[in-house]
Symmetry: none
Subunit: 221 residues, 2 copies
DNA sequence: CAGGGCCTGTCAGCGATTTGTCAGCCGCGA
DNA sequence: TCGCGGCTGACAAATCGCTGACAGGCCCTG
């Protein structure tokens, strides 16, 4: 899962980013409004965490512009405690949830999870594909009911493929979501990752369509 | 996704085309205004990248003529840095976005992605020609509803012919599209490819006009 | 601070699939 | 019927993806 964190206070930003990364998300950050707008408009994020007090361009304006351009990713807005005016305006602008500052990391994580789950359309917290079960809340994957010890990167890969089940995902897309903007890696890194995953989940958990990409679930040739 | 790149500097054009191709787009190029106008007026592109300084016919004029003829594909205009007059004029002429030169390839790609995403929904995702259906989004081809296992090259060929349905496409054009500017291959490679494809899609899916080229769909002899 | 273990990227070799090439055949159009 | 362009099946080359081994980096622990 790929997240954009928009926060101008560098210290807060790095703390929050650390927590989110530890929770298994791929986090990119923007520190001012223009950067945030550009990234949100051009990249595909699964969720945006948006602080309203920004230099350059107001957070609310950024959000409105995204929505005007049909960018519908879920947005979690960070507001000052009790500022009802902001919340009302935010609803109109298209925010999906609010978190008053200051907040507990625990609560932030819970809301992030909830928003992502909701946006995927899977109301349930688990995804089942054949013998493989992905518990998005516990970040745990089981095969035939037996929990598997996955590394963070492995988990992100199954999770992404699981959320996009029955669809062929091109390697470029996977790299973008796993590594963010960092394209330095050898293409083989992804292949090695898939191989390790198949060893844990069973060879048939993840399919390959030569020249096109990977997939989980059903898929006609 | 099919792109038209209009750029008179051959070196820049080939560099940019290479980057776009690597990003998975199907790129065609025009090097002067008249050619650009003709292609944009007669072919269906998902996006046009238009340099303004062109020999033959000014880029701005080309754009205006397209719009006057109800050609509404998104157009990304390349302007000289800071030339505000051009930008204002471009807005009136119907440009969708601007990129000041010189630019980073990264930024170009980001904007191309953004424009295409924005315009999605304006065009159908599937092309149906007789019993053959091309789902351009899933990169999947079906015959009578039965999905076929196509190789990447085979897919690119049907996809191209499908986008140019009812028109006879000369072999040279196909080779250019499939192999880029690399003409090292035997002309027979294309014939072999067509043969393999006909075996999968049915002999009548692709027609031959002796001495002219291949086509899908109806064609006026 | 050193040592060890885990995670992940890189490398090299292998096997399968895809694609190009060749040679001969077919059939359209004159 | 003839000749040429296009077709086809077989084979060879190139490419792609997989795998096991290895190494660097990071974190934890003593």
């Amino acid at each position: 899962m790929r997240l954009l964190l928009v926060e101008d206070d560098a210290r807060i930003a790095s703390d929050v980013a650390a927590v989110l990364t530890a929770a298994g998300y791929s986090v990119e950050t923007a520190s001012d409004g223009k950067e945030a707008w550009f990234l949100g408009d051009t990249e595909d994020y699964d969720l945006v965490i948006l602080d309203l007090g920004l230099p350059g361009m107001d957070g609310m304006t950024v959000l409105k512009r995204w929505r005007a351009n049909d960018r519908h990713m879920p947005v979690l807005v960070l507001t000052a405690r009790g500022s009802w005016a902001e919340r009302v305006e935010g609803i109109d602008a298209g925010a999906d949830d609010y978190l008053p500052k200051p907040f507990q990391f625990e609560e932030l994580l819970a809301r992030v999870r909830a928003l992502i789950r909701r946006s995927v359309g899977h109301g349930a917290a688990t995804i089942a594909i054949g013998p493989v079960t992905i518990d998005t809340r516990a970040m745990r994957v089981s095969v035939n009911g037996v929990p598997q010890a996955l590394t963070p990167l492995e988990y992100r890969l199954v999770s992404y493929l699981g959320h996009h089940r029955d669809r062929i995902v091109p390697p470029t897309e996977l790299q973008e979501h796993l590594y963010g903007d960092d394209y330095s890696r050898d293409a083989n890194a992804l292949e090695a990752l898939v191989a390790r995953l198949r060893k844990k989940l069973g060879a048939f958990a993840i399919g390959t369509r030569r020249g096109f990409g990977y997939y989980m679930g059903e898929h006609a040739p």
